[in-house]
Assembly symmetry: C2
Homo-oligomer: 331 residues x 2
């Protein structure tokens, strides 16, 4: 039998296990032009929370009682499509199913000899592309500038900081535990890192660690942490808005200080994005990331959870900050 | 004797007449390389409020017991500088004095035959440059897009809307009286205009008048009006932040809904600016504005107050919305 995970109901506030349903069905058969895929790795990501709401966004919402989709690595186990051969590994946005049928559209073949398969969900996949393109296309980092990254120990944040270092920036990370702070400094070579949970005055801490002010703020979290960073930005600062994990689960709009006056007096730029906004730059970005990875200039963390049934649990753990780096479920 | 207006004390909240002091002094004499200027027109602008605070901004704060500065048109009445001849008219950022000495630095000669002198403080001066460059450099208007302008009946707003029309946009203005709404539609040819003081649901009104959503929001005011417009923006919207007149006088940071999630899901760009950010584009902008003015494609409003002593009063009236278009004091 084939296991499938559906969205059972739309979460209200923080998602719970009951919002998901595990069902079984027959393993499907590949028809004309189709391939049968066996799931190997599943990416769980904070942005999926947004698709669970019935609201307009950059992608349509998930439907109730339909399988959830996210980035997957799968193996081709049967093929009626001349472009794929059994034994091929592919990445793509696919359904939370152990086995599924595809026509091959949107799938990218990945090479298990060039990098571990799970890396294609992370540093060489959406995570790495998001970090590289958000930072370079919106943040426009210049040698000697100061970059602050929130959600710094997360999958995207840890890559953003490393790329900032490669490009010559002073890099300060903000994360939610002493272990993460230590990892940012020792493993990812951030210049400084702040544990926002134990720092009473984040604004002051940023000021201390950024004596020349903040030129780029790569924002993964929103809310109070961002207000504290914004209080320290320089003239012509650039602020890519990549995520807002701190408020994905809010049911009411969160109030905060109006930021337009800050952007005004600093001639600062703030821009939201999703990685596909820069899809024309994907080949360039993959090229850069692969090179840096081979050269040992980039490293990454993964938190690997095992077992298909544990996909929802792994997703919920993102909001508890239980992951270090990319959260991946190995089937 | 020579009249001079000083900043007597820093305003707390909304400025009052007592924040200013009128003094008299001897009329100065032009020394070596200097010119003596007689003030003809004084520009009073909302942004001056920011310089009255003792806080970091794009320009240093005014000093207590020193003359206030703003855009002026003056006549050269005596010259020991070979670049200026008595009878020349100049524009520049100068002090609130009937007569003053200058070395000529930063002054631009203006031609009274090409346009009325006061126009060089408005449509052909900082006002026009701000409107043109903020809209084109940040707003990137495209034919067929929808542009919303707040503070639309103000000096900058009324020009922004007209340029939007010239460039093929559908243009909706937001202003604070029925008279202003009428002027926007009849004189400045806005497609629609909203009186925010008599409209109970601005968000809904924007939705009605912008059936295809908002592609560009030129923001002069901030706060609730902006929140209502942001609720209607399209994917890839651009939002030049030009001013925040509604909050210049606030003594505490104003709270509002966090806007980062809106920018995120819409891949929208928000950028603060001051006209000097684009000083390399001034010649191009003046060229365009002059041409459109000559062709009758641009028109403008002025509210002219008479008398040097009335400069502070005219400035205060800006915050009561008593001006239509550019507020100018004629000496």
């Amino acid at each position: 039998m084939n296991k499938v995970i559906l969205l059972a109901k739309r979460p209200v506030g923080k998602p719970v296990l009951e919002d998901f349903e595990l069902i079984t069905e027959d393993i499907p058969q590949a028809g004309e032009g189709e391939i049968l895929l066996k799931t190997l790795y599943v990416s769980v990501d904070p942005y999926l929370r947004g698709r669970m709401n019935d609201s307009k966004s950059y992608v349509p919402p998930f439907e109730i009682n339909k399988p959830i989709q996210s980035g997957l690595i799968a193996e081709v186990v049967a093929s009626n499509n001349s472009e794929f051969t059994p034994g091929d590994f592919v990445s793509g946005v696919l359904e939370w199913k152990e086995f599924q049928i595809s026509k091959g559209k949107g799938l990218i073949k990945v090479d298990e000899k060039a990098a571990p398969l799970s890396a294609y969900l992370g540093i060489l996949g959406m995570t790495g592309l998001t970090a590289y393109l958000g930072l370079t296309e919106i943040g426009s980092p210049k040698n000697g500038e100061t970059l602050v990254v929130s959600g710094a120990a997360g999958a995207v944040g840890s890559v953003v900081g490393q790329i900032g270092k490669i490009l010559g920036c002073r890099v300060i990370g903000i994360a939610g535990s002493d272990e993460k702070v230590e990892t940012l400094k020792s493993k990812f070579k951030f210049d400084e890192a702040i544990n926002y949970k134990t720092t009473s005055d984040i604004k002051q801490a940023i000021k201390k660690f950024c004596p020349d002010g903040v030129d780029i703020y790569f924002d993964n979290v929103g809310a109070e942490i961002s207000d504290a960073v914004l209080a320290n930005i320089n003239r012509y600062a650039r602020i890519p808005i990549c995520g807002a994990i701190s408020i994905y689960n809010e049911t009411q709009p969160l109030l905060g200080p109006q930021i337009q006056p800050v952007l005004l007096v600093k001639s600062a730029l703030m821009r939201g994005f999703i990685v596909s906004d820069f899809s024309d730059k994907f080949p360039e970005a993959i090229q850069k990331l692969s090179t840096w990875l081979k050269e040992g200039k980039l490293t990454y963390s993964e938190t690997i959870v095992e077992g298909f049934d544990n996909i929802p649990r792994a997703f919920l753990d993102l909001f508890e900050g239980k992951n270090e780096g990319k959260m991946i479920v190995k089937i």
